[in-house]
Amino acid sequence: MENFEYFAPDSLDALPGLLSRKRERTMVLAGGTDLLDMLKERIVKPEKVINLKGIAGLKGIQHGEGVRIGALTTIAEIAADAGLKREYTVLAQAARSIATPQLRNMGTLGGNLCQRPRCWYFRGREYVCLKKGGSKCFAPEGLNKYNAIIGGGPSFIVHPSDSAPALQALQATVHTFGPQGEDSIPMDEFFELPIDNLRAENVLEPNEIITAVSIPKPAPGTRSAYIKFREKQSLDFAISSVAAVLEMEGSRVRDLRIVLGGVAPIPWRSQVAEDELRGKKLSDETIRRAAEAAVSEAQPLSQNRYKITLTRNLVARTLRQLAAQG
């Protein structure tokens, strides 16, 4: 890794003075499970690294009308929280599916949402890909079995976060802090496609940070689940995942949210799939149609057509599992 200046402020007020508006000049450090790799591989070369862990008030899970989770809360704490497991099952399950026990103990929620893509061309030093200022995305002509099937172009990364689809399905809000003070961004508006923003995956300004995420209290009759498919069970990112939150009214789906992970450059909310089920009963037929709709927007690259089949089956499996909870 290259040399940088290191800061460990103990209050938010110090941040505006430390963080640059220029991307890549300054970076914040939470658990470091992603940033350290990026530094060591010299994918990023910031002048300053600012450790957030000394700042009070950014940690912990508060249950009330809904729940508020501090950005520095670890993934392990989220996975273990009884209240989350009970009422926000999709999030607890997503957290539990992340990486390994060691990484869950170090990794934080803020870091999980802001982690950088895993695409091997992005992570490999020798590939000057589009996202690193190069002239082309290597994936379409290259090795693309893990790349995007939906929403890709000009870059075909997939968003690696497991917590993000769950939070988006739960209609969470991201709370931020920057030079202008505090702000809130709904999860539906937090992530950005490569077509809108090539150098980052979300709308945060380089001098803003996430302070917390809040989730509204689920309506009565809510069921939720997260199903993640990975090539191996020990330490692996999602090839495709499904976060589903269903608000049931008797046997009818009053409202729902289906968000896909691992298939698009952002967590992909599949409104077309939701439309197939809203107001309807869960049956083999409606589930089949929703699953079909979820992949109707897919445009595979040369080696990832299987992700369409996979995602279709995962959506159906998730919905069948939730239907069985009735």
């Binding site: 091997w120 490999g124 290597f138 090795l143 069970q233 020990s234 330490l235 057509r305 996979l310």
Partner: protein, 709 residues
């Protein structure tokens, strides 16, 4: 001829006892090459080519040389100026810290003239493909094809013939400890702490490379973190380290980075196999023909050992190595065999299906090895072979189960090893033998054999191994270590015993032949009327320790290994995930020296086989010609959660003495899994690894209703 005592007379050998250095390893006391850090040691680091084919035009080290803490930079690592694979070493640096060394490497400016490349088998085989070596074709002409009988007549006489094409991938050794050495010059002598499978081969090779006498080179390997064949030869990194150290006048440690290890330190070649097999109605195999290709990168040795274990009257098999712009292959656990097994065992199952015959019956019909004939039956019973689906893919529901099988084979036996034993007057016994323990438990069996022979406890023995200054033993490869080392240790122990028996006979006034060594005592004869303790007889040595020399002798080991495995899998047809639920591994193991370490070898081999079957794959980027997954995130290896239940059956035939066990049990695993997958889903996967994308693509390619053809 020498003989082992019978199993019932053994008190240590053939039982289960823990390895002697287990505690040292789990507590971190064990010293590996990179733990040896003498005062003043520098850290070496290699600069490697990012391009698969290029000419080095210029190397500018001016900025790197100015960096504080940089001691030496070498720029002459390439013979000639040609780069032939991405990851090939170009320059080397030695600096005060690993960080400075890495920074220095980054500051070296190399000007390359990029050249067209062919970094994988398919592109190298294409017509007009860029040549890896300008003076040679990429596809090497077949040398000495295997020919037997009359293949055309054989096929003409066959009742069924199946033709199919199979592919296997490049697998990297992925040793937990990367390749590397710590070297230190002391005067004219070079001390090398190396992560190696062959202290003697490193000594000879390094001496030659550096133009010095082997007597000046001292190679030491106390412990090492995995080799699997990739650490048999002297390392280029060791020679570079020695040059850096000479120039710096300081010791140098040079460990490859993980990425360099993936790119330049060996691999198992891939294969493309076009095979054809014919059989009679009764299942007897009558003809085989096959053409295979495989790449060992810029090296050679991708041969696929077809037709594998099968004795077929009419055979034609030819193989072509194919050069690619990729790191050279090295020996890898049973070279040439897992590839052959994956293809041939599936081909046999395809023939069995056409004959409407149980695959096991087809094996038994053609089995020529008496040991394996028994093993097939044991394995079938343990896995519950009768549960195999009569109609493949017939389970209801999305998760389908199936059973499959595969055979293993191996050839080498033991050879020339020497050892020295010194019995000290305090009763302690030291053995010196220039073998090395690559994690298989060699150190432990060296001590155990001596203890067994002398009738004393393991704690009395100090096994000293892993030094080229010790008596000669070969490299730990080819599953030759135990059959080579064990007889030598027994022979040496016998010689010590004979000398001690002479002393005892004088003391007891009895005949030396009658003296018995047992339970830490020395008895006058069978009557056991008179005896003294081991310590007492050793005290009779007074001030002169007793030293004897021994060597490998015939009769205690043999060659030839047969085995088989059965796998049960569950395939999720909605996700394409294959879960190996159970593997029964029947391992031919002659005389078992230590049940624990033997079982460990089989477990490890099966796990590596599962990993080969389902996960591992070196992927070459077609755009840049570099390995894109040279890290443990994207080069996927079976982890704890991927390991199936493994039932190890040690099929021991002690009368055959010691045979090799390390390699053969990794051979059949991928084949057994592949056959089980077919039994589960009714679709054949003819390419490794069997990843979810391939499973789903294969299922998607199926016509909705299956036709009989």
């Amino acid at each position: 001829m020498a003989k082992w005592k019978s199993l019932k007379d053994m008190s240590i050998l053939s039982t289960a006892y823990p390895r002697l250095d287990g505690m040292d390893k789990v507590t971190g006391r064990a010293r590996y090459s990179s733990d040896v850090r003498p005062a003043g040691m520098l850290y070496g680091r290699l600069l490697t080519s990012p391009y698969p084919a290029a000419k080095v035009v210029d190397i500018d080290v001016s900025r790197a040389a100015k960096l504080a803490g940089v001691h030496v930079i070498l720029t002459n690592l390439l013979e000639g100026k040609a780069v032939r694979y991405a990851g090939q070493p170009v320059a080397a640096v030695a600096a005060d810290t690993p960080e400075i060394a890495a920074d220095a490497v980054d500051l070296i400016r190399v000007k390359y003239e990029k050249l067209p490349f062919a970094a994988d088998l398919d592109s190298a085989m294409q017509e007009g493909a860029p040549r890896v070596f300008s003076d040679r074709e990429n596809i090497v002409a077949a040398r000495r094809p295997t020919q037997k009988g009359d293949v055309d007549a054989g096929f003409a006489a066959a009742d069924v013939v199946v033709e199919a094409t199979y592919r296997t991938q490049v697998q990297t050794h992925s040793c937990l400890e990367t390749h590397g050495s710590m070297v230190e010059w002391k005067g004219e002598d070079l001390y090398v702490y190396d992560s190696t499978q062959g202290v003697h081969s490193v000594r000879e090779g390094l001496a030659k490379n550096l133009g010095i006498s082997p007597t000046q080179v001292h190679v030491i390997c106390e412990h090492m973190g995995g080799g699997f064949g990739s650490k048999l030869q002297p390392g280029f990194y060791t020679a570079h380290a020695a040059r850096l150290a000479k120039k710096a006048g300081r010791p140098v440690q040079l460990m490859l980075t993980r990425k360099q290890d993936f790119l330049s330190a060996g691999n198992r070649p891939d294969s493309l196999q076009k095979l054809k097999l014919g059989a009679k109605k009764d299942g007897s195999l009558v003809a085989f023909s096959g053409t295979t290709w495989g790449t060992a990168g810029i090296g050679r040795g991708a041969r696929v050992r077809q037709p594998f274990i099968y004795e077929i009257p009419n055979v034609y098999a030819e193989h072509h190595d194919v050069y690619t712009n990729a790191g050279a292959a090295r020996a890898f656990r049973a070279p040439g065999c897992p590839q052959a097994s994956f293809a041939m065992e599936q081909l046999l199952d395809e023939v069995a299906e056409k004959l409407n015959m149980d695959p096991l019956d087809l094996r038994l019909k053609n089995e020529t090895n008496a040991t394996r004939r028994k093993e097939w039956k044991i394995g079938a019973e343990k896995i519950g072979w009768q549960r195999r689906r009569k109609t493949p893919g017939s389970d209801s529901g999305p998760v389908k189960r199936g059973l499959g099988l595969g055979a293993s084979i191996w050839w080498p036996g033991g050879r020339g090893t020497r050892a020295t034993m010194t019995v000290f007057p305090d009763g302690k016994v030291e053995i010196r033998c220039g073998t090395q323990d690559i994690g298989t438990g060699t150190r432990t069996i060296v001590a155990a054999i001596a203890a067994e022979e002398l009738g004393i406890g393991l704690e009395m023995i100090r096994p000293l191994i892993g030094q080229s200054d010790f008596p000669y033993s070969g490299g730990s490869g080819g599953s030759t270590t135990a059959p080579s080392v064990a007889p030598a240790i027994k022979n040496t122990s016998e010689k010590a015993k004979a000398k001690l028996a002479e002393i005892a006979s004088g003391f007891f006034g009895a005949s030396a032949e009658d003296i018995i060594f047992e339970n830490g005592r020395v008895y006058m004869d069978k009557s056991r009327k008179k005896s003294m303790s081991w310590q007492e007889i050793c005290q009779l040595l007074e001030t002169q320790p007793l030293t004897v020399h021994g060597e490998w002798v015939e009769g205690l080991s043999s060659a030839g290994v047969a085995g088989c495995q059965f796998a049960e899998v569950a395939v999720d047809t909605e996700t394409g995930a294959i879960r190996v639920e159970k593997v029964v591994a029947v391992a031919d193991c002659g005389l078992v020296l230590d049940r624990l370490t033997t079982e460990s070898q089989v477990n490890g081999a099966v796990i590596q086989g599962v990993s080969y079957a389902l996960y591992e794959n070196r992927l070459m980027d077609p755009i840049t010609g570099t390995m894109i997954n040279a890290d443990f995130e994207n080069y996927k290896i079976a982890g704890a959660l991927e390991v199936p239940e493994i039932e190890v059956v040690l099929f021991d035939e002690p009368e055959r003495g010691v045979i090799g066990i390390g390699e053969p049990p990794t051979i059949p695993t991928s084949a057994a899994i592949a056959n089980a997958v077919y039994n589960a889903i009714g679709v054949r996967l003819r390419s490794l690894p069997m990843t979810p994308d391939r499973v789903l693509d294969a299922l998607d390619a199926q016509p909705v209703t299956r036709k009989e053809d």
